[in-house]
Symmetry: D2
Subunit: 448 residues, 4 copies
């Protein structure tokens, strides 16, 4: 039975299929969170005397039972269930009679789904941050092992200046750590309690929104009840914007690796068990996993565009189109987790072909430094530049010595990898606390 069924004309079945779409399947991800938010809501209803303590206990017990069923895969969403809120409320009513219906006092599916999505996103972001830190560590380890191993530094896909494996890989670590700042920013924006906004205009009961904020472990209350609704799609798109930056970084690293592992370059080697072959060409070892990684940022971009353009130009207040933001959000979060975990596997197995990387450094690569040497002897740099440009590069150069000689902050010879290491530790610490708080809130709600 639909929560909004008034017993009149039933919804056309084809229309129902269209409006429900894949929502019922996506909502499987929300069962846990809908139960948690319902327990918090019920607890609050008890506090304001809408529910009696015994009533709360019965509801809580039943909701915890649903959580446990779901964990075992025994609380399956079907299309006719419409959505997770309806299914759970129907379940409660079946088990508890009228009491099951009372839990919907002072709330709407509009604030329910928002609460579910915020909790879901919070957990997923915690997992993503953990995976991002794993990948960062793996890359940092790779950088450290090859800190001063020379390789050509490229600009314009042309050899430009001497570089090192450490500098190259380390550049991704610093970039990912900057992404992490964006992720935490999105995490904080998401960490606001929407419950109690009902359909966007509040309710005529003295509900205690601070209490549900605390019970659910949110950092703050999202205040204005109408803004809560306007926040749908907004927070989702902020999350995906941050994830997209991660994907762009991963795509760039994948691009580099595809090129640098090609026979023409051969600076790195991918382990055979990570490569696929061709059904027609017996000799191929293809970097499929990296190519897919490269392509995934296009996927993420699509998800982001979908959310942005569902909300773009929309009036204030809830509209059903907002439902369409759920799928790209969930797809985006799952994609990110997957990409990070797979890339961490890859990063741990990449072999650097040190000899080849070093040997690939052509003499031209040292031209700038030679010009600079002349400049240090007093020639204006612009003139030194022209002298070297005409010298046809007949000089000798030692790549390792060159790399080590560049000792200013951030240069190949002074990469400050320890700084990245320190940051990773700090982020791990912050993540640990966030997870602990969240677990504590869940434990509090589900303790019978």
């Amino acid at each position: 039975m639909k929560l909004w069924d008034k017993g009149h004309v039933p919804l056309d079945e084809r229309i129902e299929r269209f409006t429900v779409g894949s929502d019922f399947a996506l909502d499987q991800n929300l069962v846990l969170y809908d139960c948690l938010a319902s327990i918090a809501h019920a607890k609050m209803l008890q506090k304001i005397h809408v529910l009696k303590p015994a009533e709360f206990k019965m509801l809580q017990k039943e909701l915890v039972a649903v959580i446990n069923l779901d964990k075992k895969g025994l609380f399956k969403m079907q299309q006719q269930d419409e959505d997770v809120h309806t299914k759970i409320e129907n379940h409660l009513t079946k088990k508890l009679g009228d009491l099951g219906k009372k839990i919907h006092t002072a709330r709407s599916r509009n604030d329910q789904v928002l609460a579910d999505l915020r909790l879901y996103s919070k957990r997923e972001l915690q997992l993503i941050i953990a995976s991002l830190l794993e990948l960062s560590s793996a890359l940092l380890h790779l950088a450290k092992r090859n800190e001063f191993v020379p390789m050509p530094g490229y600009t314009h896909t042309r050899q430009a200046m001497p570089s090192s494996i450490g500098l190259w890989v380390g550049s991704f670590v610093e970039s990912l750590l900057d992404d992490l700042r964006l992720l935490w920013g999105a995490y904080d924006l998401n960490n606001q309690n929407p419950l109690g906004s009902a359909a966007g205009y509040g309710v005529a009961l003295p509900i205690d929104r601070q209490l549900t904020t605390k019970l659910l472990g949110f950092k703050k209350l999202q205040n204005n009840t109408l803004y809560v609704q306007s926040g749908r799609g907004k927070i989702e798109s902020v999350i995906l914007s941050a994830l997209l930056q991660v994907n762009i970084d991963l795509g760039r690293l994948a691009s580099d690796l595809i090129l640098f592992s090609s026979p023409e370059f051969n600076f790195v080697r991918l382990p055979e068990e990570f490569c696929t072959g061709s059904s027609m060409m017996p000799h191929k070892q293809n970097p499929d996993v990296l190519e897919l990684m490269r392509g995934k940022s296009a996927m993420m971009q699509g998800y982001l565009i979908q959310i942005i353009n569902v909300i773009n130009g929309m009036y204030s207040g809830y509209h059903r189109d907002l439902q369409l933001t759920k799928e790209p959000l969930m797809q985006g979060l799952a994609l990110e987790k997957d990409c990070l975990d797979i890339f961490a596997l890859v990063a741990a197995k990449i072999k650097v072909n040190r000899a080849a990387a070093s040997k690939a450094c052509r003499l031209e690569l040292f031209a700038t430094d030679k010009a600079l040497e002349l400049a240090e002897k007093g020639l204006p740099f612009r003139d030194a530049y022209r002298v070297i440009a005409e010298s046809k590069f007949d000089f000798v150069a030692d790549p390792v010595e060159n790399v080590k000689r560049k000792t200013h902050l951030g240069a190949p010879g002074n990469q400050c990898l320890g700084m990245a290491e320190k940051q990773i530790l700090e982020h791990r610490q912050k993540l640990r606390e966030e997870r602990k708080n969240f677990e504590r809130a869940i434990a509090g709600l589900t303790r019978l």
Copy 2:
């Protein structure tokens, strides 16, 4: 067993899951087409004496059997099958031994998947065109029934000039018929045979690509074997670009209907069985189906962006990222079919509230025509405009008469709906022929 398995190191299981992704599930849609393309390929191999007639017969019989299994849902793709090509070839080998392996002579999965996707897209586009014509007919019918029923014409979301229900609804019919031209353009681009390009560089056998072109019912051969590969993603994005135009039209019609069916406007009524309610607000009748329709163009846009950005900046030749174009293509085609069918249902049931639409026409709406009347009497239009602007609109006006008085081509009083009707008939005829050709090709291939 993978088609490219050389018996060495197996692919890491997690990497395999990542690279296969949802491909195996999507490939369920391609079983029929992979079998058809395989039969055509085998027939051609027979003609060039790579296969004996009896061998072809055995392969054909087995492939027809797969088609029949698939129709009954008994040829299920699993993740370990990797893709449809592998699964079918493994099946053939299991049934026919070495003969099963011979069918892969002179082809690659690269041209196979392209052939499958072209055939799949062709069929789906035929279905979409059929649905689009259905919707156009339903709208045309609605327009005709209300051809001269007055309603306010809006610009800037403000009443501007008298209009009619017919003009308003008819504007969508003409727009959809223009979209149809784009769809046929995409259809034609897709109607090129990629088979025989192998991995993009042809094969050293005298294969007959004209023959497979004819057998599969393609309109022409896609010539350059490397261009065949570069066409991946390109044709997909041309298809989705055309579909997006349809979605934008549907979104606009949905927006109009949401507003015009609101109590503040009340020009049209949606049937109750197409509306959903609120779990909290007992009085609501919500146009969810239209809101979702409005939001779907954002989804389509996301799919398009995904395909565009997978191929953007890519080098020539096959890359695994191209696999990522399969999902958005299939999602886009399915979405369109769904939207058109649902909207045809809605269009057939919309009730026009003639009295309300007519009564809503405010006097200001006639101001331009009044100014024009003065202009006809010799006052320069710019001056007439100012006279009326200052008159405070104290004149009388009959909306129906006004609508009918505008008799130039395309105006409310002369909408030329018959032209649209004629075009619909022509498109139906063209579609009928296309479908017949396709059915004929399929029948030819599967006749044992």
Copy 3:
């Protein structure tokens, strides 16, 4: 003076600046077309007796004078002119008094701007098609000169199968010719007369829209007056969708050239006068022009997204946001013209390093063909594949012979470049006719 000024409260100056935006500058491109559409409109007004023949003559003469002033750069749009329609009408009124005001009878700026943009886009598309054909010819010429010059064929950025310079370059010619079909499709959609739709709801005068269609050289009338308005942004986005496909092709060719001209590959050489250097590194020869070419598809994509999302979800009827589609349309058209012309220059000057390209072909490249040879001798291909995979590629191979041996349609040894040549000629012929028709219409309108 604004065309809509009623003599009351003036528009706030900051608001005016914001609403006019860059419109006034963009409208400089439309002066010619606004004059042409105005002449056609006036001629029609004469036919229906709103203007006397002498009045038409005076208006025509003044409008032709404006066209000539504009050619000399003496009819400059300023911000206070608001838009081209206002400026020209004010000019006419200044010159001809009340007669200047009469020309606005039976039209609105809404259909005026559409007529201007359609004519403008038509001319620009003709120029773009001409440039595309130039580039195609240049590439075809390059392909022919190097038809059978071997080079490695790549998949997954890995050497895959022997290919040829001709096949590689020819793949772009065929792709561009497919793009041309899309361009002609967009051209046709744009080739519809919007004049006479006024503000979207027609006018109460017996205007002759067929006449203006003929006078302006449009192929057909866009019938429904409200659809004319809904077509704004739609046609623009169809045009840019087609252009984007061209840009993606150009981007791919640029990507290939950047890689293949790098010292690591060295298959082609860019002329020195097309390369830029580095301010710091004396040895650099950078392919900046190609890198920008690669990046331009991102620009085009942005323009397309802008237009799509201005119209996405919009109600029927004119809205001021539509003005925002003008800039990306003009930017997109200009960008395309520029890219094609520059790339034609580059294509004409590329040097193929035949020895290097041929020498780069590694033995693995021939593995598939060797497997196929075994297959031809009766071994199932799958087994031959494994035999070769284990052979460590100890065989000899002649790249030129290999290339020439692949003689099926579209293969390296049988590229059918003549077909592309024939198509180019056909497109040139079609373009010539389209241009002639357009010139004839312009001559007819401006003949005093």
Copy 4:
């Protein structure tokens, strides 16, 4: 003379025009910042004894002179200047001879342009944040003046529950303040010193990057020299992602205002001096400024897409395509500033039609509250819901009383506008400090 000119073959003139593009014009915005970064770089070169104190003084004096010329509009970029770095260095060399050339020691245009853009973005973001705070204040003021003025609250574009003008307007204030958190996040990411990374691989001189960080007022050093290059486009896209959220908010408010100021709703009135008319329809008062505001988020989205897709899939290291990120960044920043300032003007002048807004509240609007009253008396909410749904809404209700009765946090009767006020003050304080620091750095560098 180009900085990279080696005296050989000159760059083809058409290629030069294409590669320079609009860069020279955009670079006008960077003159100040290029001078500041150059002074800081020269000061650092002095510290490491590459320049003598007197040399630094001469360079500083000349660079300050350029800043002053630029302020007066007398340092005009031309196309042949290529870019701002070249023009300024040529200017220095003209004035100071060889000394002018020495300033380029230990830097590249790659890190120069990054430093310029970071400083430029920083200043623009400060201005944008100031404007955002202005608009927030204006809206807060509007909300406060109408805190408890009833209006219908909408969901699904249907009247849903009683709301208030204060709640509606206040929802945007809270949303904008959340956007501000994103803006500060982008601001912080941008607040990193890229100088000293040279072409991405550092320099073989003991440059002091901490010193330039301090001199230029950056909050921290961007460490890894290669990451500095990879940060191009990334930081830009993070900035535009944050701006896009602001534009979506503004677009939503514009959408609401367009609808609510229409005669059918009439809750608010736009001042006449902010409306435009029609050239054809004498009665129109069009909300053009709001429609453009609504459309601008599409523009911003396009700019973002452009930047994202220039960098998407790119290899590490500088590429010339990156130049293409400059224009959309500058357009995006300018657009935002403009939109915020214009909207603040509008917000200050909106008149609320209190009687109309209140009177528009239909009885159904109170149905939920009536159901809740029954629920409070013990009926399960689901049953109360059905009772009311069947009652045909024959009850009385006082909108003002209803609004005030909802007193939980964030509800119409308890909007907590003071919290927003407090936050605005805190942001103002933070902004003031940021601006002071920046001014102090500039003063330090330009003090002769």
